[in-house]
């Protein structure tokens, strides 16, 4: 456990000693802020207009949908850029022996890297939560909705991160890792749209989007939590196996 934290700390440090971490945080938070601003602006325009009372929604849901809808999409781009270096850069710089020779198991290495990236992404997820909570200053907002969305977004970025780490372990070229994990994540994310006519097809069922939608409606469902946890574990196990193969096959 201590080692997982040590490795995670090392990864977080590495994000902040290179410009990459700062640039991504800056761009992403700026984009969230912009969406928040647009959301509030539109809310007053739309709700004060000729909308029937039955179709009116609260400010939390209206602004929340704008921000969280764009957040899941933005993270799709941000996570591969952050995850690409995690293992492939170590391969390229031949620094993996440093970790392999230390008294740490491969499981700890992979989990450490995963939680390092996850903690970094959590900064952005929590940022959205705090930003939306400021609505509470002049309105009575639905915190349950925010918490469900935050929780869902955590699980979603966790899944992106797990995909990112796996593809990063396959190659020694960070860019290739980024492209592969982006394509893979996009495919899984939008799979549901292409199978909209057959909602019970298994393609539709493995789509990340389908499971994220429950949370974005404000529902925390154990079925979807289990799906995401299984999803993340699968890719982490695949990564561990890939690294273990390095030791066995050479």
């Amino acid at each position: 456990m201590k080692m997982i934290i040590n490795i995670a700390m090392k990864e977080i440090k590495s994000f902040f000693v290179t410009p990459m971490g700062w640039i991504i945080i800056a761009l992403i938070t700026a984009a969230f802020g912009w969406n928040y601003f647009i959301g509030i602006n539109n809310y007053f325009e739309v709700m004060s207009g000729a909308i029937r009372p039955a179709e009116r929604v609260g400010v939390t849901i209206y602004v929340g949908q704008t921000v969280y809808g764009s957040a899941s999409f933005l993270m799709l781009f941000a996570v591969p850029l952050l995850s690409m270096r995690l293992i492939s850069e170590e391969r390229r710089q031949q620094t993996l022996p440093f970790l392999f020779s230390a008294p740490i198991s491969i499981i700890e290495i992979v989990l450490g890297k995963f939680f390092g990236l996850f903690a970094f992404l959590a900064i952005m997820v929590l940022y959205i939560f705090v930003m939306l909570s400021t609505l509470n200053i002049w309105a009575d907002i639905d915190f349950g909705y925010l918490i469900a969305n935050t929780f869902g977004l955590f699980l979603l970025v966790g899944s992106f991160a797990a995909i990112g780490i796996y593809f990063s372990s396959l190659t020694s070229q960070p860019i290739i890792a980024a492209i592969l994990s982006f394509i893979f994540a996009v495919t899984l994310f939008i799979l549901e749209r292409y199978f909209a006519s057959q909602p019970n097809h298994w393609f539709s069922y493995i789509s990340l989007m389908k499971h994220f939608q429950t949370f974005s409606r404000g529902v925390i469902s154990s079925k979807d939590i289990i799906y995401f946890i299984l999803f993340i574990s699968t890719f982490l196990v695949l990564t561990i196996r890939r690294l273990d193969a390095d030791r066995l096959r050479g």
């Binding site: 022996p97 440093f98 020779s101």
Partner: protein
């Protein structure tokens, strides 16, 4: 002497190729072992197996009595390893990187600052502490590499070609550092610079195409070099036939007009008898010494290249 490392029948195959074949050896505390061999002989592969970076196809590695395959964490804690490509996170400063190394090697939090100071002092890095590793020269980066290998005060330090690519002054400093380390730790270094082995190591191992071809102390290696030849300067040299009547001589080789190399059948040469004979027969002896083959020659002989 306590044994710190024991490798038994280490074998590693990559598909049909055997990189290391049935290599066994031991290492005692306070000993510097030199690993010699031509390129691609299997030195690095052996080192990767010793440090748990590569699983052996067959055989065992024991670090202070702990099997590295069965109990990798405990065993790895006792090893410091510097691979040929030094594993440095170049985006960090020297002290930041050493702090990470200390943490990952289970150095207790209270002792981290102290051990960073000690290794920086040992490796002459103190004034580079706040520099980015990326901006350091090759030699200083190598020192950082050595520093990360000894930060947790391991029982065994394994250095793969530690002096490659350094300038002569740096090489001398690193060699001195390795010699000093040899007093407290067991050290294994691999190299293909032959004189280096004589300067630093207590024991030598020569590996060729995966097989251990020589294993012994530096004295043994010197003995091997002295061998069974005499370098003799004579003004009126005898013929080989005449020599063979008197001594058990195999070969008479002319080096220049007056100098000859005489190869005897055994290494136990009766030099005194040879001198007496030379006076009696009036060969005009003016110089006689053991003919030391160069280390290169010994190496070439042993590896049959």
């Amino acid at each position: 002497m306590t044994k710190t490392l024991k490798a038994t029948n280490l074998t590693r195959r990559f598909g049909p190729n055997t990189a290391v074949n049935n290599v066994s050896f031991e290492l005692s505390k306070g000993e510097v072992l030199g690993f010699l061999g031509p390129n691609g002989a299997g030195k690095s592969t052996t080192m990767r197996m010793l440090t748990g970076n590569l699983a052996p196809t067959e055989g065992q590695v024991e670090i202070c009595g702990i099997n590295i395959i069965e109990d990798p964490k405990l065993a790895k804690a006792k090893i410091g390893y510097l691979p040929e490509m030094r594993p440095l996170y170049k985006e960090f400063k020297v002290n930041e990187f050493l702090r990470i190394a200390a943490k990952l090697h289970n150095v207790p939090n209270k002792k981290i600052n102290e051990s960073i100071d000690i290794v920086m002092e040992k490796c002459g890095l103190t004034h580079m502490s706040n520099r980015l590793i990326e901006n350091l020269s090759n030699g200083y980066q190598q020192r950082v590499g050595i520093a990360q290998a000894i930060i947790h005060n391991p029982d065994i330090v394994i250095l793969d070609e530690p002096t490659v690519g350094l300038d002569p002054i740096q090489i001398r400093e690193i060699r001195k550092l390795i010699k000093d380390m040899g007093k407290e730790h067991s050290v294994i270094i691999s190299t293909h610079i032959l004189p280096e082995v004589e300067i630093i190591c207590d024991r030598v191992q020569i590996i060729d195409r995966g097989n251990l071809v020589f294993h012994g102390s530096i004295e043994d290696l010197k003995q091997q070099r002295r061998g069974n030849k005499l370098l003799v300067g004579m003004k009126k040299p005898p013929t080989l036939k005449k020599l063979q009547v008197l001594f058990d001589v195999v070969k008479l080789e002319k080096q220049d007009a007056l100098l000859h190399v005489i190869q005897f059948n055994s290494s136990d040469i009766d030099v005194e008898a040879f001198i007496k004979a030379s006076i009696k027969e009036r060969w005009g002896l003016f110089q006689i010494s053991p003919h030391i083959t160069s280390l290169e020659d010994t190496f070439v002989q042993l590896t049959n290249q």
